[in-house]
Amino acid sequence: MATPSARPAPRNAAAWLGCLVLVLAAPAGHAQAPRLSPSAPPVEIVDPSERISGNAAVGVAFVQGADAIGSDRLWAYLSPPVARNLKLRISSIDGRYYAEVDYATSPGQTPGWVALDLSLRSFSFVEKNYANPMNEVAVLLTDADAGRAYPVRWGAPHSTAARPPAPPQDTDALRVYMNTERSQAFLVLGGTPAYCKDASTLSGFKFNAICDATLGTLRQADGAPGQRVVSGVEIFRRAGVRTLAPVTLDITLQY
C-alpha cells in the first residue's frame, strides 16, 4: 500500500471534546443503532499536489439503488471475529480526496450493522465534486493490524435512522473497487467470468474499475445449514496473454 503523507487535520480540542461528550451523553432510552466514533483525530488529504496511486483493491461496499453518500450515512457490517482496531480509508477515484479514520471496538462488540461516525471536516469536498460518488468514491474498512476487510454501505442517515439497514441477503450486490493496473479484471461466479467495468470517465488514479457480484454468487456452497458465509473474494487479472496473480480480498462475511 502506498502510504500517503499523513497530515493530521487541524485539531480543535474543544470541538473534539464537545463531540465526544455529545456522543456519550446521548439519551440512553432513545433507540439508537450501535455506533463507532473515531478513536483518534482523522487524517484528511484534499487536492494534494502529488497524488499517490492506490492498492489493488481500494474499497468494498454493499451498493443498492437508493444509496447515497453523506457524512452520517456510512454503516459497517461487522462479522465475527470483530477486530479490536479498525481503520477506514476513503479514496476518491482521481486521488483528490483521501481520508483515514481509526476506530476502536469494545471487547463485546456485537456483530452486525454499526454506524460509523466520520467526523471529517472536508467531507463536503466529496459531496460536491463527484457526480457519481457510488462509483467514484471507494471505502475500505479493515482490521488495522491485518488485511481483513469489512464491507460498508452508504445507507440511511444515522441521525434519522431508527434502525440500521436490513441484514444482507443473497441478492444484495457487493462491489469491489479495483486498481487493475491496466489489466482486464474479472470475478469468476459459478465458473463463469463476470468482468469488472470502468468505474467512471474520470481519471482512474486511485482505482479504475468496479467489480460487482451478488452475495449469493460469492458465498460458499458448502456452508453449514442456515449459515451463509462469504470467505474471500478472488479477482482474476489478465494482462495481454499473461495471467497475473489474482487479487484476493480477505473478507469473511456471515449473514
Binding site: G95, E181, R182, Q184, T201, S203, R238, T243
Partner: protein
C-alpha cells in the same frame, strides 16, 4: 416638444386623473419612445431603420444563428493521432472480420479448442505462425496497445471484452485458413509478433484515444526497466462544414492535442456515434498506431488532469466563414452608418430653426 408649464392656480383647478388613465398614457408614451428609437416613427416621417434597430437586429441575428442546429451545415470532424493505446466500443449489429498478424491468443474458455492448449482453468493459449482472422459478433470492447519490442518492428496487443448483454452475448472466432475455428464468448487477448506493416478499417460507436499516465503507475514490463506507460503522443482534430446545398467542404477549426491527453468521442458519456476510420502500425510509425477517424459528431472531449474540456464548433464560426455571410455583414454595417448619418443630419435640421 416644449410644453407650457401650468401655473399653481391652474393646477388647483385641474381634475384629478384616474390611475388607470395615467398608466395608459405612460404606456403609450413608452411605446412611442420605443418606436421612435427603433424606426424614427411617429415623428412626421415614414418609419426608417435607425441605428438602435439595426444594432438590435444584429444581436438577434447572432443569437438566432448560434441556436441553429449544426446538422444544417453537415458538420463532420476528423481526428488524426499517433497513439500507443486505443479503446473502441464496437457496434453490436455489425459483424467484424479483422486480420491479425502472427501471434498468440489467450482465452478464458474455448468452445472448440482446435489447436489450442489448455494450460489450466480459464487459461487457453493458441499460438499461430501465420496471420489469423478474428470474427466479432454482437459487439464488445476492444483495446489496442503497442507493446514493448526488442526488435525494430513494433508489436501490439488486442484485448476483446464481451458485451454484458444476456440476450445477444458477444462471440469471438479465430480462424486460420481452412482450419477449425476457435470460438469463445469470453475475454480474448492477443499479442502479435513484430510486424512490418499492419492495418485494419475501423467502425465503432465510441472511442477513447490515449490513457492517463497516472493509470500506469506501478506497471512493469517496459523497456530498460522503465514502466510501460502507453499514451497518445500527438494528434489533432479538424472540423469541417458544408455550405447549404453545396458538396464543397471547408475547414472551420483545427486544434492539436497535447501528449498524454485522453480524447473521447462522442463527448457525452452515454451517447453513441458512428466513427469510421483506419488503424495502422508499421516500422516507421515510431512505435505508435497511426489512427484516422471520421464522424459526423460536432464535439470531442479531451481529458487531462485538472483541465478537461470539449472541443467543438459554433454555428457562428461555421457561417462566418462563408463569403455571403461577409457580404451580409457589410450591408448591415453600411446600413448602420447610413442610418447614423441621416439621424445626425435630421437632428441638425431640427436644431437649425431655433
Amino acid at each position: 416638444m416644449p410644453q407650457d408649464a401650468p401655473g399653481p392656480a391652474a393646477t388647483d383647478t385641474q381634475p384629478v386623473t384616474p390611475p388607470s388613465v395615467r398608466i395608459r398614457d405612460s404606456a403609450v408614451a413608452t411605446l412611442k419612445g420605443i418606436l421612435f428609437a427603433l424606426c424614427g416613427w411617429p415623428r412626421g416621417h415614414w418609419p426608417i431603420p435607425t441605428v438602435t434597430s439595426l444594432l438590435i437586429l444584429a444581436v438577434l441575428l447572432v443569437v438566432t444563428v448560434e441556436l441553429l442546429p449544426k446538422r444544417l451545415s453537415d458538420v463532420t470532424l476528423t481526428v488524426r493521432s499517433r497513439t500507443e493505446v486505443l479503446e473502441l466500443e464496437l457496434q453490436p449489429e455489425r459483424t467484424y472480420v479483422w486480420w491479425l498478424p502472427p501471434g498468440s491468443y489467450s482465452l478464458l474458455t474455448a468452445q472448440t479448442a482446435g489447436a489450442c492448449e489448455q494450460r489450466k482453468a480459464l487459461d487457453v493459449v493458441c499460438a499461430y505462425a501465420e496471420p489469423t482472422a478474428v470474427t466479432i459478433r454482437h459487439g464488445g470492447t476492444v483495446r489496442f496497445e503497442v507493446l514493448p519490442s526488442d526488435s525494430p518492428q513494433p508489436r501490439f496487443g488486442v484485448a476483446l471484452t464481451p458485451r454484458a448483454d444476456a440476450t445477444a452475448p458477444s462471440s469471438f472466432e479465430i480462424r486460420r485458413g481452412d482450419g477449425t475455428p476457435v470460438q469463445t464468448t469470453d475475454l480474448l487477448t492477443f499479442e502479435s509478433q513484430p510486424v512490418e506493416h499492419w492495418r485494419i478499417p475501423l467502425i465503432a460507436r465510441r472511442v477513447q484515444i490515449g490513457e492517463f499516465l497516472s493509470e500506469s503507475v506501478g506497471v512493469g514490463d517496459g523497456l530498460g526497466g522503465l514502466p510501460h506507460e502507453p499514451i497518445m503522443t500527438e494528434g489533432d482534430v479538424r472540423m469541417f462544414a458544408r455550405s447549404f446545398g453545396s458538396l464543397e467542404r471547408y475547414q472551420v477549426k483545427e486544434e492539436r492535442f497535447d501528449p498524454a491527453d485522453v480524447v473521447q468521442i462522442p463527448a457525452e458519456p452515454g451517447r453513441d456515434g458512428l466513427l469510421l476510420g483506419l488503424l495502422s502500425l508499421d516500422g516507421d510509425s515510431q512505435n505508435a498506431f497511426a489512427l484516422t477517424l471520421h464522424t459526423d459528431l460536432a464535439e470531442v472531449f479531451v481529458r487531462r488532469l485538472g483541465a478537461a474540456h470539449k472541443i467543438g464548433v459554433s454555428m457562428w464560426s461555421i457561417l462566418s466563414q462563408l463569403p455571403i455571410w461577409l457580404a451580409l455583414w457589410v450591408i448591415l454595417v453600411s446600413l448602420i452608418v447610413v442610418a447614423n448619418y441621416h439621424a445626425a443630419r435630421l437632428s441638425g435640421l431640427q436644431k437649425a430653426p431655433s
